[in-house]
């Protein structure tokens, strides 16, 4: 494990990515304690203020402290993205690995169906689902998870297929173990590494997808501190104070870059061939 971390920190991507993601996790864990103001407290006299000692990053259109809102919002923004990716990955991986294990006709049918679902752009898919279920953050989470599942299924299948050819699976089959057991205990763990890499990178996609849903009015509901919603609300006020737009955009960009770098770093460590 320490060896793994050492190798991860040796690559610039891995090192920078790890640091950014750790910083973000600190905000997620301790955000509410770090926030100096009530994120929902409005003040008619303190609207559109630039950064100052009292308001570190300035205030927004309701005179709310942007820094506090970002700190509180880290939780919903990042956790939502991670959870959505996780659910999508688990569902996708189960489908993909099962398909690879079954092989033959079943594999063909499952994968062609997955391909069919993939032909609907994920943003469109998410839009329709949220519209079906009504706009709220939980529904947006579901929508993004479902939209991610087919892609993950495809990747896990490819990985599982190569794992299947390896000896330990044949050994397990030879031992006469049950198919469920083989999928869960032998194939899945050995396909985990590449999936983790893909997942890390997808977290940043998820953050963008959530932000876009908020922009289209189908994500988190105001006065939520979700960063995507903050950005899309700020667009209207950017001519009065550009800080409102700048800070949450930077926050989103930072998280996205962080997870991307970490993903690349992990790839280098887990799969030294490329």
């Amino acid at each position: 494990m320490t060896d793994f971390i050492k190798r991860l920190m040796r690559s610039p991507q891995g090192a920078i990515g790890t640091i950014i993601v750790l910083l973000v996790l600190v905000a997620v864990a301790f955000g509410p304690y770090l926030a100096p103001h009530d994120p929902e407290a409005m003040s008619i006299l303190a609207r559109f203020k630039g950064p100052s000692a009292d308001f570190l990053l300035g205030t927004d259109q309701y005179g709310r402290d942007i820094f506090s809102r970002l700190m509180i919002g880290a939780r919903s923004t990042v956790i939502m993205a991670v959870v959505a990716t996780l659910i999508g990955t688990v569902v996708g991986a189960l489908v993909g690995v099962t398909s690879a294990f079954l092989g033959g006709r079943a594999d063909e049918v499952i994968m062609r169906t997955v391909d069919a679902v993939m032909s609907i752009p994920s943003l469109l898919f998410a839009l329709i689902i949220v519209n079906l279920l009504g706009s709220s953050d939980i529904n947006a989470l579901l929508a993004v998870s479902i939209a991610f599942a087919p892609g993950m299924a495809r990747i896990s299948r490819a990985v599982a297929l190569s794992a299947r050819k390896q000896d330990f699976v044949s050994a397990a089959i030879a031992r006469g173990e049950k198919p469920n057991f083989i999928v869960l205990s032998e194939m899945l763990p050995n396909t985990v590494a590449p999936i983790i890499v893909e997942m890390t990178i997808r977290v940043s996609f998820a953050i963008m997808l959530f932000a876009t849903l908020s922009f289209l009015g189908l994500g988190a509901q105001p006065p939520s501190e979700e960063w995507g919603l903050m950005v899309s609300e700020a667009r209207r006020y950017m001519h009065i104070s550009s800080w409102i737009l700048v800070w949450p955009s930077l926050a989103i960009a930072l998280v996205a870059i962080g997870f991307n770098l970490l993903g690349d770093g992990l790839r280098d460590v887990l799969n030294p061939k490329t």
Binding site: T113, D115, A116, V117, S119, F215, M238, L254
Partner: protein
């Protein structure tokens, strides 16, 4: 490429569209919207609604409705919009043609930027240039399109007045004006793709440059320029075709946001309007057409790939 492969590939497209049509039909059935109310509006009487439901076949079993719809689709009839009362098919097809133009423009713009960037990074692997290219690609994938679009509007149009801000001018009406209007939306769409594709080109190129094939070429005494352009590039670009084709799915999603902001009347914008207005026939038609586009593009990419690369054998 054999005939059986082609048949199989075409059959697959139909299978895909069948699945998509089932999904989208099921979804629109769950949507809590009464098509008759959508069509007649808030002020309709109960009798008028009942009559319309009967006429539209909304009282029939779901399967009958589905078959009826699919039969219509095969005859090119996607039904009537609940919102405007106009026929859905022609509206969607015209919208698709504009989106395709935008998508094609974006792909060209993207390749124009991404391929040289990728090659440069591969050739100067580990140097400053390489780092700069990967920095660009990291930043490129880190901002949602609606933010980049807004920034583009503010700076390129309002502040520097380099490009016309919004709208859509048909190329047949005024070619250069039409192109000028496409640049900004296309640029916004391509940013994320540039990041993705330049990385792919780089890694393919790095791989190819290390193969025996290139070493042999070098040993034959070919100049490094000849090696690079003549041999390495061709082999590195082949996998890129597949990646670009797969990115079309992303591209079609991207046009949704970009069309909304830049007021481009493409299929993405039509779909947003349809989804918000719960205009079921338009949603069904739009999704099906988008999926079909994706399939066709991937089909073309496959064929291109096999034509360009004689080594690949399809059975």
């Amino acid at each position: 490429m054999s005939a059986s492969y082609l048949t199989k590939r075409v059959a697959l497209i139909f299978y895909t569209l069948l699945i998509v049509s089932l999904i989208v039909f099921a979804m629109t059935q769950i949507l809590p919207a009464d098509a008759a109310v959508m069509m007649l509006g808030e002020n309709a009487t109960e009798e008028a609604l009942a009559a319309l439901r009967e006429q539209m076949g909304l009282n029939n079993p779901v399967w009958t409705q589905y078959l009826h719809w699919i039969a219509g689709v095969f005859q090119g009839d996607f039904g009537t919009s609940l919102r405007t009362g106009l026929s859905v098919g022609p509206v969607m097809v015209e919208a698709l043609s504009r989106s395709l133009l935008l998508a094609l423009f974006s792909i060209c713009l993207m390749l124009f930027i991404a391929v040289p960037l990728g090659i440069l990074a591969a050739v100067r692997r580990g140097k400053i240039v390489d780092m700069a290219v990967s920095l660009i690609s990291y930043v490129g994938v880190s901002l949602p399109e609606f933010v980049t679009a807004t920034l583009a509007l503010l700076f390129l149009a309002d502040r520097w007045k380099l490009l016309p801000p919004t709208g859509y001018v048909p190329l047949t009406e005024n070619f250069w004006d039409g192109v000028a209007h496409l640049i900004m939306p296309a640029a916004v769409i391509s940013i994320i793709l540039v990041a993705h594709v330049s990385r792919m080109v780089r890694s393919e190129m790095v791989d190819v440059l290390h193969t025996d094939y290139i070493r042999a070429a070098r040993l034959k005494g070919l100049s490094s320029r000849q090696v690079l352009w003549g041999h390495a590039l061709r082999n590195a670009l082949l996998p890129t075709i597949t990646i670009v084709a797969l990115d079309v799915g992303y591209l079609l999603g991207g046009v949704i946001v970009v069309e909304e902001i830049f007021a481009i009347p493409g299929i993405g914008r039509q779909l947003i309007i349809a989804i918000q207005a719960r205009d079921l026939p338009s949603i069904q038609a739009g999704v099906l057409i988008m999926a079909a586009t994706y399939c066709v593009v991937n089909f073309i990419a496959d064929i291109l790939y096999s034509l360009l690369d004689k080594r690949i054998q399809y059975d």
